[in-house]
Assembly symmetry: C2
Homo-oligomer: 319 residues x 2
């Protein structure tokens, strides 16, 4: 066995893997598309392949890794390795023993964690959060996920903590993709923003968002579609991004009034693309609602970027 | 020195003191009105008198107590014993070294904590929260305060955590006594409810709330004024209490989506009076917004009542 560890970031569109050494330096990496059909077994096989490819890039066999950590969407049970209700993965509405399947396939220890939580732990140990003891991660993407570090340790509650996207920022407000009303994600999540853009267009508001989407061969409003629409100064795109930013700031303030953490790290697909640009606006909105305003949390942008989820996952295996 | 400890709950209208033994049984207690004029020195002297009276009731001298814990409003610094910005106490806008003053006066160790936090710790160790490892206390009174216990330990953040009353439940919503908009306290705090009742009456809405207030010789809408108005089925009182309950439920759900604690304990002046009666309504509102709804937190009402704050404060001294 080597001192190397594997990390897998399992996303709805891609599977990112890394092999890191004991200093957390990346020695090999690979990226495969996530299967869009079949079921959890298919996804597990694609994960195995991607992990083996990263190991080969690091000139080792996957079996010699000390272990492999996995950041998974859905309800990921760290104790049992079972992942349930991963609705953005094919045929994964139910439960699947992902940890067991990968342990068998890779013949090494496999540990499963929540995708956002492991990415936030990556930022805490190796990225933007290094100088701080307590941290709130806000992962701004299709939804808005969260991760909490208190006194240097993850706070998971009973397994369902850090759902910052479903904090209520406007009682009786907009309908959220989760079915409830007024969640922060109902304004700031990419899926909700796309639904709102479609409703506005249907109501006669002019926008190039969907033309840009088609021109770029996409079937949904990806981060890069939003980016291009902003570059073209599309008014609806600008107004929906600004709206998202306002509600992000409000929700972050609410969370910080409860947790009083030292810092907030913004990550996720939209966060990586737009976080830097809108950080001061998010902060300005946050400050309107921070109760003890002479000592606000630091507002940071995730540093580990594309590999952050996989590197964070590798930390599930004790270095 | 004895094995007995003192506890002082410093409130805007009363100072409640207790002496407890090593099993936390109350051996003596006293209650004095909080001075309404003078300054922090006056208040400290009244606290000394009330503490001595409780000690006498327990047949000991205050000087023989192992120590005295104090739950204080305002910004109470546990490390230095300094209390700042206690705006509901006379002449206490600035800072006063309350710990030092009481240590000198009582000639024993004195520890200072936040009033709501020590009351919540009391419920955690000795009251409704005993069966649980993680807890959110929601103190429903003039304002809405909070206290957080995670993994058996208080979470204080950098000293400003648990401000659940200032979580934003309605962006651009009602003006809060704190000056911000849409805070939960803007709907559920007694001060905000009274301000709203006055505005409604001025706008022509009929209500007996202020008649009841005068009849009972009060100059503000105390819990008992609300109680009487509800008994008389005053429509404005009913509608404002129901509105408070809805926003409490929403804010609690928001906090629980972030913290995923095992239980919520409702306390405070209005909480003690109305918590039992409205618990199921608060819970129903909460459930509309709880993200992982198959495992909601237990909803409990504080058990220690009038003496809870002082008993909780006594726990600041290690038994």
């Amino acid at each position: 066995m080597t001192d190397l560890r594997g990390g897998i970031d399992l996303g709805g569109t891609k599977i990112q893997t890394v092999v890191v050494d004991e200093t957390n330096a990346v020695l090999g990496e690979a990226r495969h598309p996530t299967p869009t059909s079949g079921g959890p077994e298919n996804v597990a096989r694609a994960m195995e392949d991607a992990m083996r490819e990263a190991a080969a890039a690091a000139s080792v066999k996957a079996e010699t890794l000390r272990g492999v950590g996995v950041g998974s969407p859905g309800d990921a049970d760290g104790a049992t390795g079972v992942v349930s209700g991963a609705r953005n993965l094919p045929g994964w509405e139910g439960s699947f023993p992902l940890g067991e399947a990968l342990t068998k396939a890779l013949d090494t220890e496999v540990r499963i964690g929540n995708d956002v939580q492991v990415a936030v732990e990556g930022e805490y140990h190796l990225g933007a959060g290094r100088p701080f003891g307590s941290l709130l991660g806000v992962w701004w993407g299709t939804g808005v996920g969260g991760g909490i570090i208190l006194d240097g340790k993850p706070w998971l509650g009973r397994g369902a903590a850090a759902e910052i996207g479903h904090m209520v920022v406007k009682r009786n407000g907009a309908r959220c993709p989760c079915g409830r009303r007024g969640c922060m994600e109902a304004y700031a999540g990419r899926a909700a923003m796309e639904a709102k853009a479609r409703r506005e267009q249907a109501a006669g508001v002019e926008t190039d968002l969907f033309k840009i989407m088609e021109r770029r061969g996409r079937d949904r409003l990806t981060s890069s579609v939003w980016e291009h629409a902003l570059r073209e100064k599309d008014p609806l795109a600008e107004s929906l991004i600004r709206r998202a930013v306002r509600y992000l700031g409000t929700g972050i303030a609410s969370a910080c009034n409860l947790l009083d953490v030292e810092a907030v790290v913004i990550g996720g697909g939209l966060g990586e693309r737009f976080g830097e640009r809108y950080a001061s606006e998010i902060e300005r909105e946050m400050m309107k609602h921070i109760f003890v305003s002479d000592n606000p949390p630091k507002m940071l942008i995730a540093e580990l970027n594309d590999l952050g989820g996989a590197i964070g996952a590798s930390l599930l295996i004790t270095p």
